[in-house]
Amino acid sequence: MDWQTYLFAFLVGGGICFLCQLILDLTKLTLGYLLTGLTVLGGILGGLGLYDPLIKLAGGGATMPIISFGNSLAKGAIAEAEKTGVLGVLTGMFELTSTGITAAIIFSFLMALVTRPKG
């Protein structure tokens, strides 16, 4: 735990959100397109091995934004492919992102159960 990681987490995470807000306000791009684009960007950066250095520097500033989701998908697929061959692309795809997807499904389902239906 060092304070520099916290500083960079704030600056990098905030900076990413800053740029995204500018894109939303100044272009016609809507949130859905932006988030999808960020995920694709994360996949490409992950494939090139360019996103991990940012995670090392900024910690949560890099792992919290949705770019990290694309990066983790790509890294899971690549890591498993290196171990088991081409088939690893299929088996390793959700290796690293399973926590996020499972948590999101479970919590969404629970929230729907405990909340009164609208309308």
């Binding site: 990413i16 807000q21 999808t36 969404s108 929230m111």
Partner: protein, 153 residues
Amino acid sequence: MPAKKLNPKQAAYQKKVKKYEPKPNALRNAFFAFVSGGVVCLLGQALTDFFGAVMDLPPEKAANPAVASMIFIGALLTALGLFDRIAKFAGAGLAVPVTGFANSMVSAALEFREEGLILGVGAKLFSLAGSVITFGVVTAFIVGLLHAILPGG
């Protein structure tokens, strides 16, 4: 609206109204997104360190429970109806981190709750988040194949 020829009085009115129309202040919104996004990521980092210390995990593994916790926070805020109120100011600061991913799924779950658990919640859960997963997987699939096929990875 069809472009209609305005009489002088209407034109003057339009001009007057335009002066009072709220202008989207991009820089101000971006500043709020910076601060709120920074705080969300700071919290994520704090949770990563917390889980790393408590469960004795290396940082890259400790990010998993931290992400799950942030998803829970995003889901809870959405269910309580607080997410949209905060997002009005925070904008991308709340939508771009994983809290936004949780929000898109929970808001879909709540919106279609009245259509039942199976055809509503079950079927529509990914109606917003689906495109992120689909395009993420397609990208990662191509990237992974290239790595596996190209010599030297």
